[in-house]
Amino acid sequence: MNTRNWARRLHLPTLIALTAVVAAWTVLSRRYGAYVLPGPLSVVSGLAEIVQSGEIWSHTAASLTRIAIGFGFAVLVSLAMALGAFVSTVARGIVEDALAILNSTSVFVWIVVSLIWFGLSNWGPIFTTFMITLPVVASNLVEGVSSVDRRLLEMGDVYRLDGGQKFTSIVIPSTVPYLLAGAKIGFGLALKVSVVAEIFGVTSGIGYAMNLSRETLATRMVFVWALVMVLIMVAVDKLLFGAMDRRLTHWR
């Protein structure tokens, strides 16, 4: 591989911009002090500390478990909604209106409501994640099933494929790209939302760790946990969704 390709793979312009940001960060941190803005090096060493102490794994695992449950349920319910929208136009109207309402509801509503309903438990962040990601994943899926090519379904009728055969060989494959797109956006949202919800009512997770650091005046650790979030997002996007994309849409 020649140098040009390497430059592209490493996103060279991005690296240059990043270097500039880190330099500015260093200067500003010197100017305002570590309590307001800890320097980049101390954030990296903070990251090394929580890796060594194992704290990074326990809090990340707690957050990811809640996301997996809330987001997983959202995907399941979305699939049911999309199926309903596919078989009945009445159901489709109801689903679309319901999603429009859910879409316009603030994260904070669900956080407060889940505190009242579930008190100080894991179910708060899980429920909040579920309610926020549901409309995103479901709208994508509903759009997916309604954009199934009618001409392909007609081909299925001509060749006497039964409902199940048409569903598995025509409807599902046409919807997969929409499911992937929805899941990708939904997961990003789930991570951001669940961390906010973890500020209230639970004693583990990235959101909890971040808020605790703020309360104990450890600004450095707030930045460390923010960095952990970025790393999770990049890892899931590149590894998990990237692999799924390549596997499921290789025919393009």
């Binding site: 081909m155 060749y159 494929l161």
Partner: protein, 249 residues
Amino acid sequence: MKLAVEGVGKDFLIPVLDSVSFAAEAGEFVCLLGPNGCGKTTLLRIVGGIEPATRGRVLLDGQPVGTDRAPARRVGVVFQEDRLLPWLSLADNVALVLKPLGLDREARRARSLRYLHLTGLGGFEGYYPSRVSGGMRQRAAIARALAIEPDVLLMDEPFGALDAQNRRVMQDEVRRIWRETGRTILFVTHSIEEAVAVGTTLVMLSARPARVRELIRNDGGRERGKLVDDLTAMITEEVARQQGPGAAR
């Protein structure tokens, strides 16, 4: 009589097909000709059981064709577009339509490969539709229609999207496939040259609402150039009629 179309009519908002009747023996290659918009495709869809007729009936081996799902008779359809599933290889596209016939996996695979080979796609069975040319996709669609070993094969302007050279090649190919398989074919086209090149029986429909204007045997008894000229004159007249009085002037 393999295929009998008896007084078939269809109304949408206006009558499209008035009353169309013709019949075909087993192994005939029938071309449906007529001005654009006269209902050729609609007639084909009625014969294929995709749409119900408003009047009349279609008999296949003496059995009425309906839009219900009872697979008493088999009809293979090649559409204007290939309508292949982009996420399946060519072989899997063909094998898919064999599932309702109750064949097991291996039999489906074997038959799929046989018909892909027949249509000149041997060696391409593992390719996805997006990786092959438009002509090859249409060949795969023909292989799919033949693979169910249909009582009648319906083709709706199957080469309309192809360029002139590919079109000519595919006309020769479909003629060869017809000779090798002995299938009864109903082929819709608006190109007179195409119809004269491939068909044994030419059914010329009139302007909307359509009836059969003329049924011509294309068995070499009439000179081709003369036949093309006669048909062209007929279709010009029908087009003028369809566009209303005064439009021809």
